[in-house]
Amino acid sequence: MSQELQKNSIFKVIGASSLGTLIEWYDFYIFGSLATIIGAQLFPADAGASALINTLAIFAAGFIVRPFGALVFGRLGDLIGRKYTFLLTLVLMGGSTFLIGLIPSYSSIGYAAPILVLILRLVQGLALGGEYGGAATYVAEHAPGNRRGFFTSWIQTTATGGLFLSLGVIVLTKNLMGASAFADWGWRIPFLLSILLVGVSIYIRLKMHESPMFTKLKTEGKVSKNPLKESFNNKANFKMVLLALFGATMGQGVIWYTGQFYAQSFIENTCKVDFNDSRYILLWGIAFATPFFVIFGSWSDKVGRKWIMLTGMLLGILFYRPIYQIFLDDTDFTKVTQQDIQSVSDAVVTRTPIEGKSDSLISTSATVTLLSGASYQKIQSHVKFEEKGKPVALQPDQFKDKKLSTMVFWKFVALIFFQILLVTMVYGPIAAFLVELFPTKIRYTSMSLPYHVGNGVFGGLVPFIATLIASFSGSTPLSGLWYPIGIASLSFIIGAVYLSNKKPVETEA
């Protein structure tokens, strides 16, 4: 069976599967990475913070439907095979991403804009829900039983690789065309590019063969007639679905999305670090940490999956708050003294008359460069009352577009690297772990659901719920972290008590 396959044949399978999955992740992530810009394009100009939250809601909607995609395409994959099912998901994903790039803005078509994006986002979520389980199952069913962790970990790298690719394309496009043109229309380019990438991947996938295990089942006439019923109506199988969700994927999902998404959102929106710097930090962190998916996946073949995943969760629970406190402290420029300042640019003063009055709003903006190499834009807002003559401060000084000193930049890279290292611990072995929980004939359906509830719902909602919690009155910028910490703690306890640390076996039972 799978052991007889040549090593290069397995890597061909991995390469073809991974490329498509990587592109699907790319498609899915460009939306999240551009949430702020898309929010400004799709919602009324005066919507303010609600635009971002609503965009995150649309972003979250893409995650929420993932479990439904898992059910629809998982069922299809167990009925007609893995190959054609995840070919279909790729077409749906690529098509909807391309169309998002063509949607007119709110100023052109009003609320039809966010509604259309929401529909396409739902299609993306459904497609992704079907894709991952198929790719992981497909690779696992080609791999020898005692090397599943190693071989499926290559599929695991695609999620981070897709994020890396999306950030890279965004940063490159923005720098080539300038910030203003990018915010105006250039943000569409990463979406439109997707169609080329998907075309290449479809060509490669069409040349792939069906999984040997599924082919064997089909030959023997043992293909499931009703995978949904067999997966969820059978207590012995359903209890494993619940265990996989609460004891593994739920915690894994929040660790993943905190390290890769919330971290970037926090650095950019809460710490107000410059657009490019916040993305470069993540790009470096991902580049350094990605090889560890394979290292931990391979290691799990030797020591079992359970404790590697749970250690990743525990480290997240213990270290998230100290790490994010450092992000806040190192970007706090409110205590800068004159001795720290190297130069201050000429102030740009904007005077806006207040409607119906002779008073005016005065905004003064200047770029401050520090001796450490850091810089930031300082904005002071005042109201000038004509009868008083003296301006009155409207709100505390604001600091934005912060560029970090070299030392702090690399410190942030190290902290992001650590968070993504935790991602590799929880995520590297998870595909092999899930594949080994369920029998071949209902594997696609059974493993896809806990994976996508854990990652799509619990994980995908991290930026949305954490931002929401942090916006409550009385909360601090770190309050949002209680959501991933709480979920990871619950999952850690359930995993530690209920999961067994099965050692992988040489062949399929």
């Binding site: 609600s50 059978n234 509830v453």
Partner: protein, 85 residues
Amino acid sequence: MNGLKKGLGLLWMILGPASIIFMFLQAYEKVGLAAEGVQKTNTALQWGIILFIFIPISAGLVIFGYYALKGEYDQLPSGSEEPKG
């Protein structure tokens, strides 16, 4: 260990409905605090999404707890192809 699994099962059964009640109370409070108009609609929508998603998951936690209490997780299958049911 099996005793602990069963004992915690009861805790999960309680945690499921407790989390739903907590979320409802939070939703009620936050929607009530939001200003009339777009902000109230947005807040209601956000909490609607959260409740819609987490109520079935909380129900799943109760079922998980019930199975744990009944000793369903005392002995886990050793392989993925082990006969089920």
